[in-house]
Amino acid sequence: MRGFMVFIKKELLEQVRTYRLWILFAVFLVIGMMSPLMAKLMPEIFSSLDMEGLVIQVPEPTVYDAYAQFFKNLTQMGILGVLLVFGGTLSNELARGTLVNILAKGLPRRTVLLSKYAAAVLVWTAGYALAIATDYGYTVYLFPNGGVANLFFSLFCLWLFVCFVISLILLSSTIAPGSFGGLILSAVALVVMLMLGMVPKAGRYNPVTLASVNTALLEGAKSVSDLTITVSITVVLILSCLIASILIFEKKKL
């Protein structure tokens, strides 16, 4: 347990020193500020475009549009940012061989993996909270009227999905070699899952649904009970990714 806490501290310090923490926070801060603004200004942007007499009627934006924009940016820029920032966390250390010393001194390999996961989830949660706080402030100010359904659960779904992405990165990093191996393999895995997400009936069993269902939840078109299976499957998948990566990592030659 002591090793675990020490290693988490080391991870967080590394995130700060390599500027990765600040990069991630900047991305989330920008998403939080930009999304409601974009939603609010969409009609003006369209009307200021001169399209040779073509008039596009954009309905007056609502709170719902602001949150839709927020989730769209989070699932694109946000997840890309998370992939880039955490993609190298294990791969880099394996490629550089910096873990050999610590492991030789007796720190169990599973402790290394689990504390890396915990540190990444911690940083992601902090960044996400930052994005939510800024977005909420801007949205309340720009759109004083109205509300949306299931906001908290919708945010939770995306949080859980990214936690799954991080566990996927760790698993990929233990499998694929090289300092970009983990990043590339997990990106490929995500793309495959996105494509599987297009199969209509299988959506309930695919974690990707957690990152695509958000606006439907806000509209009230989906309810919490529709997603119980997806949430449970994602939790099981996170645990299996972690267990599998520990098993592979224990056997891996460094």
């Binding site: 990069i23 920008v30 200021s48």
Partner: protein, 66 residues
């Protein structure tokens, strides 16, 4: 158009973040000369031209070891 001007103050923090990212990355590029790939000129161009994306790419995949 007046409507857009009215929201101008909201863009100030966004611009500050963008410039801060760019400057931090630019200073880092100029003070270190090891990159995982590419060379100094390439990274200067990427960091300066591509607003938010350039510095993020530099710090996540571009910068070399100390």
């Amino acid at each position: 158009m007046d409507d857009i001007m009215q929201y101008l103050p909201f863009f100030i923090p966004l611009v500050i973040i963008e410039v801060a990212l760019m400057l931090t990355a630019l200073v880092h590029v100029l003070r270190h000369n090891r990159y995982r790939f590419g060379n100094r000129i390439l990274w200067i161009i990427i960091v300066v031209v591509f607003g938010y994306v350039g510095p993020i790419l530099y710090f996540t995949v571009g910068r070399g070891e100390e």
